[in-house]
């Protein structure tokens, strides 16, 4: 038994989990009047939801929505017939009817005036475009990550939601989990001393993008609408292997890739810990197998894959002058001093999205900003995209977060955006 295992024995577990301290993740404040008599939901408080591109991950998140009593899921738009029917079956089973409407084209769903909000869980290639289309159609949006595959798309996303006044929640659900929130709280309240270094685990720094594969016979549009599947991505011929959604143009663009895929979670948590939700690092450089970035306040961000405690996937570590804390998806927290952990919340493992979904729904009603709102998502995605550009160019780059451009670096600046395929328009 290792030293760490020893620390996790039953007695220590009891010590750590009893009693639960003050809630660090205060729930969105919603008055009791939103609920009808007998705990039912007043019709005016019901959120009518649609889904766009609901596959494996999307079905999980949709399940979180369906369990909320104030949600009514009424329609799905999906380019693949098989998935359209699977989602319809899921919704119809939940409600005991056959009412869930199906669409191939997301624009038909977005044209419905009765839909308040949409869950977007397409492949990453579509996330920004579909989110902005939805906002412009007057819908609130819960969108899976990564939300934007370039710096310019990140900025456009935030601008669009600001201009339209719609509510946006990025699917970075770790923002709503107590262990991550507690670690962030330690950093932000100075309990680790002056913050020095933030560590994020991106689960790979290299891209694994699929691309242009040999042409195959395109199936009928009703089965798979290849044109809609490509969406804003540059054209290429149909090939069934590109239909995985998850890998297609992952991170997209010239660079993209691993840092964006998981960095949208773990780098996002570092941004939060550094109270940097409205900015990004000013300097990025690859050092060996790691990406080092530096914020204007001197705090260093290290994006790395090795040397982590066994605390599950997506770990982060925050180091200050007097202490450190590390946490991950198994819900445990380890710190330089146990005293730092007194008062931490309940342990929740497995990164569930329920709390994040609830936070979104509450904000739909109050018009407040969710924890991973468009501004927050914009800056964490800018950071990830800028990191990818530094990795791609394999040299140090400097970024001006006020002007949103790389300093004296035309080559890097050219990589900030990428044209969308017509008719889609940012």
């Amino acid at each position: 038994m290792s030293a760490i295992d020893n620390q996790m024995n039953r007695r220590r577990f009891l010590k750590r989990t009893f009693p639960v301290g003050a809630m660090l993740l205060a729930p969105q404040i919603v008055a009791p009047s939103v609920l009808g008599k007998g705990g039912g939901v007043a019709p005016s408080e019901r959120v009518v939801l649609g889904g766009i591109g609901i596959g494996g991950r999307g079905s999980y998140v949709l399940g979180c929505f369906l369990q909320e009593p104030d949600v009514r899921f009424v329609a799905v738009a999906e380019v693949k017939a098989q998935r359209r029917q699977a989602v319809k079956q899921m919704a119809d089973t939940r409600y005991g009817n056959t009412d869930c409407a199906t669409y191939r084209d997301l624009r038909e769903l977005l044209a419905r005036n009765d839909i308040d909000a949409v869950l977007i869980a397409t492949g990453p290639n579509w996330h920004a475009a579909a989110s902005m289309l939805a906002a412009r159609a007057g819908k609130d949006v819960y969108c899976e990550k990564p939300c934007a595959k370039t710096i310019m798309d990140s900025l456009a996303l935030a601008d669009t939601f600001r201009r339209t006044g719609r509510v946006f929640q990025a699917g970075t659900q770790r923002r709503s989990l107590p262990n991550f929130a507690y670690a962030v709280d330690l950093a932000r309240r100075g309990r680790l001393g002056k913050l020095k270094t933030l560590h994020a685990h991106p689960a790979g720094l290299e891209t694994k993008m699929s691309g242009w594969l040999p042409a195959e016979t395109e199936p009928p549009k009703e089965e798979v609408d290849w044109d809609l599947y490509l969406g804003p991505a540059a054209w290429r011929p149909f090939n069934r292997r590109l239909l995985d959604g998850f890998n297609f143009e992952k991170g997209g663009g010239m660079v993209g890739g691993g840092c964006l895929e998981w960095g949208s979670h773990c780098v996002d948590l570092c941004q939060w810990a550094n109270d940097a939700d409205d900015t990004s690092p000013i300097e990025y450089e690859r050092k060996g197998d790691r990406l080092h970035a530096r914020y204007a306040n001197g705090v260093e961000l290290v994006v790395r894959n090795d040397g982590w405690l066994p605390l599950g996937s997506c770990p982060v570590r925050f180091e200050g002058e007097t202490g450190w804390v590390e946490t991950g998806d198994n819900g445990d927290l380890v710190a330089s001093d146990d005293a730092l952990l007194a008062g931490k919340g309940v342990r929740i493992s497995g990164y569930p999205a329920d709390f994040h979904v609830r936070n979104f729904l509450d904000c739909v009603k109050t018009r407040g900003q969710p924890r991973a709102n468009a501004e927050v998502a914009c800056w964490s995605h800018i950071t990830c995209n800028a990191a990818n550009i530094a990795l791609f160019l394999d040299r140090k780059v400097q970024y001006d977060p006020k002007k949103n451009e790389f300093i004296n670096d035309e080559e890097a600046n050219r990589l900030r955006g990428e044209a969308w395929r017509e008719p889609w328009q940012a």
């Binding site: 024995n9 010590k15 009047s33 540059a234 197998d289 790395r304 090795d306 008719p423």
Partner: protein
């Protein structure tokens, strides 16, 4: 901790997870980054050279231009077009522009054309406005918008009369991005003249123009354009967006328009009002919002208050405090909740007062905010108030100290633990459970000794919590309780000893098995039977458990002893398989019920030894234990463990197929058997 830190130092060379691949060659890395990674193996040397950033940009550009002009494969051309985004200059523009009319390649070309600096791409895109048709024309218009080419405003304005609605919409949005007087005027005219599907996009173009003016400090022009849109016959979402802009463009003069939206029966306008209420700056605005809250319908009051609380100016806190002090219940609860985020130490008296009222929701909200209030030195202020508080406020303060983990509050908490007020005492006991350590254990033991029956449960919980945190060194403090004349206190002592663990505690519990009081004996046996065995210093529990199993005073003691012993065997790791098997075998004559045999089967299922299979085969012949035995046999035989021959595994699995009635077990066994055969 130092060693842990050393192990977890990110600079450590010891990997805990898989490490990244090292030293990927530069070209290979760039290939993997590029879009065509899947077909990288088909690339020739020319293509690889174009991807290598170490090759001078001018040289790369010329190679890429040659490639896109050649009869290369479409995939290679597409990549080359995209690569020109990095190194392309005016030299590449004519070749790139040649692809703008292609449905397949126009996007690839525009990726480069959107970012190449200088006038050449603008000129090429403008020229394409007259030559390109269909969908690619929309792409060309979009790229002009991205580049914000002012010279393109006029040709784009002409596109506002194009017969294709998608072209009109794209032109309107592009003009919005370009902005300026000409674009705005044209869009405004078009808004007045156009009907149908394009009005929404034209309105959006207007809003984009107005937004740019507002950002550039031309608020009056922005306001006029926003007003035009919000009064036009356009979709309500555009009206709402324009209304937001109109409010923001007016500055503090926008308050009236803002309040109008908050009273609007239209859901979209009300919603945009809630958003604008968070954005329009100024203390005057905050004060106006605060004044307006009570005139709104009840279901809007708390929402507007939340919007007010999201503002960041000096008028917010006084407004929220006023509602927290005196407002209709739902609004008051919201205000009290909000104080957690916007409040500071000045809110403490108010929160304490609210926490003592009879309205349960109000009191709970106040307590929750007290527990989490974080601006200012809240803990110090609560500590100051704690000893001097009176009445119900004492309980509120004790609960807050507990929730906030203020260990310095313990002396006051201990004092309140003997107060005449039962509610205060209960709060104090719960605070001791949360805050107490080894130093408080003696005091809690003393409290228990003199406690009424009403208080005893809460105090026992406090003692157990403290014991769980204190460790074996605290056992001596508990001995007086374990030896107390009151049998019920002796039982509490045993439970606490189990929580601290260690040899001394274990010895005391073993001794209590022979206590003069039968109920204490029962408690001691129960405690022993669940004694944790994963602590190296607690292995001494095995022998007394076996003794109980063999010769316990009551059948219940024997059963508990046997169960505890088997569970101990299941958990221990420091003895070998043969020794563990012998110990299980030793218990066989003691087993009187099928439950016990089933537990034994589970233990055997984790002992990879041929003898274990033999014993389990015996259990499998008994209907009461067959299923547990089959499950354990399957667990042993599915693995290709070196302790078993294939023949032994095959025989075990065949017995499972013969005896088990569980489909799952039979399936696993069948699959494993196939693999062996």
């Amino acid at each position: 901790m130092a060693s842990l830190k050393q192990r977890t130092n990110p600079e450590s060379t010891m990997p805990f997870h898989k490490t990244m691949k090292h030293h990927i060659s530069r070209v290979a890395q760039l290939l993997s980054l590029a879009v065509f990674a899947a077909s990288a193996s088909a690339l020739g040397p020319t293509r690889a050279a174009t991807l290598d950033l170490d090759v001078p940009a001018a040289e790369r550009e010329q190679k890429l231009i040659a490639l896109i002009k050649s009869d290369a494969q479409p995939a290679e051309k597409a990549l080359a077009l995209k690569q020109l985004a990095i190194c392309g200059t005016a030299d590449a523009v004519p070749a790139l522009a040649g692809f703008l009319g292609s449905e397949e390649f126009s996007t690839w070309a525009r990726i480069a054309l959107e970012v190449i600096p200088g006038p050449a791409p603008d000129e090429a895109l403008r020229a394409a406005l007259t030559t390109v048709q269909g969908r690619p024309l929309i792409g060309v218009i979009s790229s002009i918008g991205v580049r914000r080419d002012l010279k393109a405003a006029y040709p784009l304005i002409t596109k506002l009369r194009h017969p294709d609605a998608q072209v009109v919409s794209a032109a309107a949005i592009a003009l919005g991005h370009i902005g300026g007087d000409s674009a705005a005027r044209a869009l405004e005219i078009s808004l007045a003249e156009t009907s149908g599907a394009t009005r929404s996009a034209i309105a959006e173009g207007c809003i984009l123009c107005a937004e740019r003016w507002l950002a550039e400090g031309q608020a009056a022009k922005a306001m006029a354009l926003y007003d035009t849109v919000r009064k036009a016959d356009v979709p309500q979402r555009r009206v709402a967006e324009a209304t937001r802009g109109a409010i923001l463009a007016r500055g503090s003069d926008g308050t009236a328009l803002l309040l109008e939206q908050l009273r609007s029966p239209d859901k979209a306008l009300y919603s945009i009002g809630l958003r604008a209420a968070r954005e329009l700056p100024g203390t005057q605005v905050t004060e106006a919002l605060a004044s307006a809250v009570k005139q709104l319908a009840p279901d809007r009051q708390w929402r507007v208050l939340l919007a007010l609380a999201d503002r960041h100016d000096a008028a917010v806190l006084p407004a929220v405090k006023a509602f927290a002090k005196d407002a209709p219940a739902e609004l008051r609860v919201t205000a009290l909740n909000v104080l957690e985020h916007v409040g500071d130490t000045s809110c403490i008296p108010l929160l304490i007062e609210a926490a003592t009222v009879d309205d349960r929701a109000v009191a709970q909200a106040a307590k929750a905010s007290l527990a989490s209030l974080h601006t200012g030195n809240v803990d110090a202020e609560l500590l100051r108030l704690l000893p001097q508080a009176a009445g119900k406020q004492r309980q509120v303060l004790v609960e807050a100290a507990s929730a906030r983990r203020i260990e310095s509050a313990i002396p006051s908490v201990l004092r309140y633990a003997t107060d005449a007020d039962a509610g205060l005492r209960k709060a104090a006991f719960e605070a001791l459970a949360a805050l107490g350590g080894p130093k408080e254990m003696g005091a809690v033991v003393d409290l228990l000794k003199s406690a009424t029956a009403q208080d005893r449960d809460a105090l026992e919980q406090a003692l157990l919590a403290i014991s769980g945190r204190s460790g074996a060194a605290a056992a001596p403090t508990l001995m007086p309780l374990a030896g107390h004349s009151d049998p019920s206190l002796r039982a509490v002592g045993l439970h606490a000893l189990a929580a601290v663990g260690g040899p001394e505690a274990l010895a005391a519990v073993i001794k209590a098995v022979d206590d003069q009081e039968p109920s204490v004996q029962d408690d001691a046996v129960r405690t022993l039977s669940t004694w944790p065995n994963n602590w190296p210093d607690d292995n001494g529990v095995a022998e007394p458990l076996l003794a109980l199993a063999k010769s316990g005073r009551k059948p219940m003691h024997q059963a508990l002893g046997l169960r505890g012993y088997l569970q101990y065997l299941q958990g221990i790791k420091h003895i070998g398989n043969d020794e563990k098997l012998a110990k299980v075998r030793e218990t066989m004559p003691l087993m009187k019920s099928s439950d016990q045999k089933q537990l034994a089967a589970a233990v055997l299922g984790a002992i990879p030894a041929p003898g274990a299979i033999d014993m389990l085969v015996g259990f499998a012949g008994d209907a009461d234990t067959a299923e547990a035995a089959c499950s354990a046999l399957t667990a042993l035989a599915v693995k290709d463990a070196p302790e078993f021959t294939k023949d032994q595994r095959r025989k075990a699995l065949q017995i499972v197929l013969e005896k088990s009635k569980s489909d799952g077990t039979r399936k696993r066994a069948g699959e494993a058997l196939k693999k062996i055969q």
